[in-house]
């Protein structure tokens, strides 16, 4: 509130404002790629198992093997390439007043959430993430599904410290308001 009373209406030099696009972004932990690989392998393993048993045991299905196997293999390659690309493109950064997350295979999209707009924070650990000591952090705003950030593949220690940092900041933001309201 004190900023309000000292509020002056000077022209702001837009070039002097901190630039979000020049921030050095943190990459996801290298071990996260292993988790992606495990997940993909499980998916394709199950798919392969299903297709394999169909091809082996259903006689009417056998002639289709000519195209099913190449398509299956091509899908594996495409998926691994796409995920590798998307893994490479991801990045995040925590600034004093906001969180930045960049992603996207073709179009690079950057989402910025100001800390004073965060509604709640979620820290998830999957089974495989636990093995590699990784976690995924989700920041929710009131902006609905599209306005939320999901950062996966952060080392759990780092994720926890980010979470604590954000929570501390949220409390700091909340406290002055409740004081003025009371």
């Amino acid at each position: 509130m004190s900023t309000e009373t000292f509020f002056t209406n000077e022209v702001i030099d837009l070039d002097l404002l901190p630039k979000y696009e020049e921030i050095q972004l943190n990459r996801p932990h290298p071990d996260y790629w292993k988790i992606i690989c495990i997940n993909l392998s499980i998916f394709f393993g199950l798919l392969g198992l299903g297709l394999g048993s169909l091809l082996l045991f259903v006689d009417e299905f056998k002639p289709n093997a000519v195209w099913i196997i190449p398509v299956y293999l091509a899908l594996i390659i495409i998926f691994f390439l796409l995920f590798r690309l998307s893994f490479k493109k991801r990045g995040y950064a925590v600034r004093t007043h906001d969180v930045i997350y960049k992603s996207g295979i073709i179009a690079e999209s950057t989402t910025i959430v100001p800390l004073n707009r965060i509604q709640h924070i979620e820290l998830n650990e999957g089974i495989f993430s636990r093995i590699y000591k990784l976690g995924s952090l989700q920041l929710f705003t009131a902006g609905g599904q599209s306005g939320h950030i999901h950062i996966s593949g952060v080392a759990i220690e780092e994720a926890k410290s980010i979470r604590d940092l954000l929570l501390k900041k949220l409390e700091l933001l909340e406290n002055p308001i409740t004081e003025t309201e009371a």
Binding site: T3, E4, N9, I12, L14, D15, L17, P18, K19, Y20, E21, H97, D98, G104, I106, A107, E108, S109, T110, T111, I112, V113, P114, L115, N116, R117, T141, A142, G143, G144, S146, G147, H148, I149, L173, P176, I177, E181
Partner: protein, 501 residues
């Protein structure tokens, strides 16, 4: 009734009738066709069972209504600034609403409530279900008293300087009133889409239920189909289309009148009071600072008649609600003129929005729509036309489609712009209905920018502003300018720590 609602109290005893009727209508609606079928096919001996089951349903719904009346209590917790509702017949539910989280209070009256002489009161927060609390029967003085309490306690928490200005303002004097004639014009010029959807839904249920009836009566469907196709000549098709258009227009008029009859807006202690409705009167109260996006739109006809439609969008989390236009999170105000719009904008936004620096999209804006909406369908159509001789005579339609499409896409490109000043962001868009959406920077929840790799060289990119009431897109802008704007908005949001709700 006591005035301060601090003790738990029940709603008016008439609520039993209202609630009973409510459940009854629901049951009847769900099983209407079932009843007809049963009625027709039933032998006379089982007729008595039918009557008895109907009576049983009526009895059960009123017993349930009585039970829920007994268990439904509400009170105002002054200390904690909360409104507490206890309900539930078998399980106990307690709903607690913080007063400063209330977005709007609706006081309604449907036909039954009008006959009995009670009001319904609904409290809307930004939650996922819309109406968190709905009191079905409350007498008029209590309703307005309660409303007063819900809002007065809110004033305490708000900035005290606002209350100083209070006495100078004329209370309850409506500053906007939509006359019957204006409403008639509104009905003629807007909201075709919604009426069309309504009509389609109506025909769909008609056909669907009709089919079930035919099945039930074992009427030969082929005969009817033959009769219908026999009637379809070009002349009858035109007459049919004309009839449909007239029906559409009439439905539109009726809908507009039903919803917005005697629409009045008045300022009432920091809040806006909207009241409207032909048969069921609706009173809605909202506080201006809870409005996230203010939008006004106008089409060619409306411009000539100097009127426009406004809508006030409020925060909604989770899924958007369907079929709750007036009661939901968007409040529509049709048919105000430019002066009234400016006054309303000043009330909601604090000052009249000035257009600042305007940003226009790059011409590449045209590429994707032209490709996907014109070239792709036309190529598909031409391929089809050259292979199927029946379609060949209609090839010239492709040219008409192409010309119309080009024109529309070009207009949408010319209209697509965003104008930024220190206090407001105004996004203009539209082809026929040109809409202006106004957002204050402190309502921004998150910002997304993105760019296709092939646009890197020409410095073109896209912008999405996420607010609690939806998104605002600006496409194909100068990416350097967008990035600069984003930095500026982030600075505005982050340095002030203003409340957005």
């Amino acid at each position: 009734m006591d005035n301060d609602f601090s003790k738990p109290q029940r709603e008016s005893a008439f609520g039993i009738i209202i609630m009973g009727a409510h459940t009854l209508i629901k049951i009847v609606k769900a099983s209407f066709f079932l009843f007809i079928i049963a009625f027709v096919k039933m032998s006379s001996t089982s007729f008595i069972y039918l009557i008895m089951s109907i009576l049983a349903i009526i009895l059960i719904s009123f017993v349930f209504a009585y039970l829920s009346y007994l268990k439904f209590t509400f009170f105002l917790d002054k200390e904690k600034q909360e409104f507490v509702v206890n309900k539930g017949i078998f399980n106990r539910d307690q709903v607690i609403i913080q007063l400063d989280k209330i977005q709007q209070v609706n006081i309604n009256q449907n036909i039954l409530q009008k006959i009995i002489g009670v009001y319904g009161l609904k409290i809307d927060t930004a939650g996922a279900h819309g109406e968190e609390v709905s009191i079905k029967a409350i007498d008029e003085t209590s309703a307005y008293n309660l409303k007063e309490h819900l809002l007065n306690s809110k004033n305490v928490t708000e900035v005290p300087s606002e209350t100083i200005h209070e006495p100078h303002k004329a209370e309850e004097a409506p500053f906007l009133r939509i006359s019957t004639w204006t409403l008639f014009k509104v009905g003629l010029t807007s909201n075709y889409g919604q009426s069309l959807a309504l009509l389609t839904a109506f025909f769909y249920t008609l056909i669907y239920e009709g089919r079930q009836l035919f099945d039930a009566f074992k009427i030969n469907k082929d005969e009817i189909q033959n009769a219908i196709t026999g009637m379809l000549t070009i002349v009858t098709v035109f007459i049919l289309i004309a009839c449909l258009l007239i029906v559409l227009l009439i439905i539109n008029l009726v809908r507009t009148f039903y919803k917005y009859f005697e629409l009045e807006i008045s300022e009432h202690k920091n809040t806006l009071l909207l009241s409207s409705g032909l048969i069921a009167k609706k009173n809605t109260l909202i506080s201006p600072n809870k409005v996230q996006i203010t939008k006004y739109s106008q089409n060619y006809f409306q411009k000539k008649m100097n009127m426009l439609n406004m809508s006030l969008k409020q925060a909604h989390f989770g899924q958007s609600k369907k079929g709750h236009e007036m009661q939901g999170n968007t409040l529509e105000i049709p048919g105000c003129n430019a002066g009234e719009r400016d006054e309303l904008l000043k009330m909601i936004l604090g000052k009249s929005p000035l257009r600042g620096k305007t940003f226009i999209p790059d011409w590449r804006f045209l590429n994707l729509p032209i490709f996907f909406k014109l070239i792709l369908p036309i190529v598909a159509f031409l391929i089809m036309a050259f292979n199927i001789p029946e379609v060949k005579p209609y090839i010239s339609a492709a040219i008409v489609y192409f010309m119309a499409g080009i024109l529309m896409i070009y207009i949408s490109y010319r209209r697509h712009r965003i104008s930024v000043s220190q206090d407001f962001i105004i996004k203009t868009s539209g082809i026929w209905d040109i809409s202006n959406e106004i957002v204050a920077p402190n309502k921004i929840q998150a910002i997304t920018t993105f760019q296709y790799p092939w646009h890197k060289g020409v410095d073109v990119g896209h912008l999405t502003l996420h607010t609690a009431a939806g998104q605002i897109h600006f496409k194909y802008g100068n990416y350097t300018a967008i990035k600069q704007l984003v930095n500026y908005w982030l600075y505005q949001v982050e340095c002030k720590n203003e409340n957005w709700m």
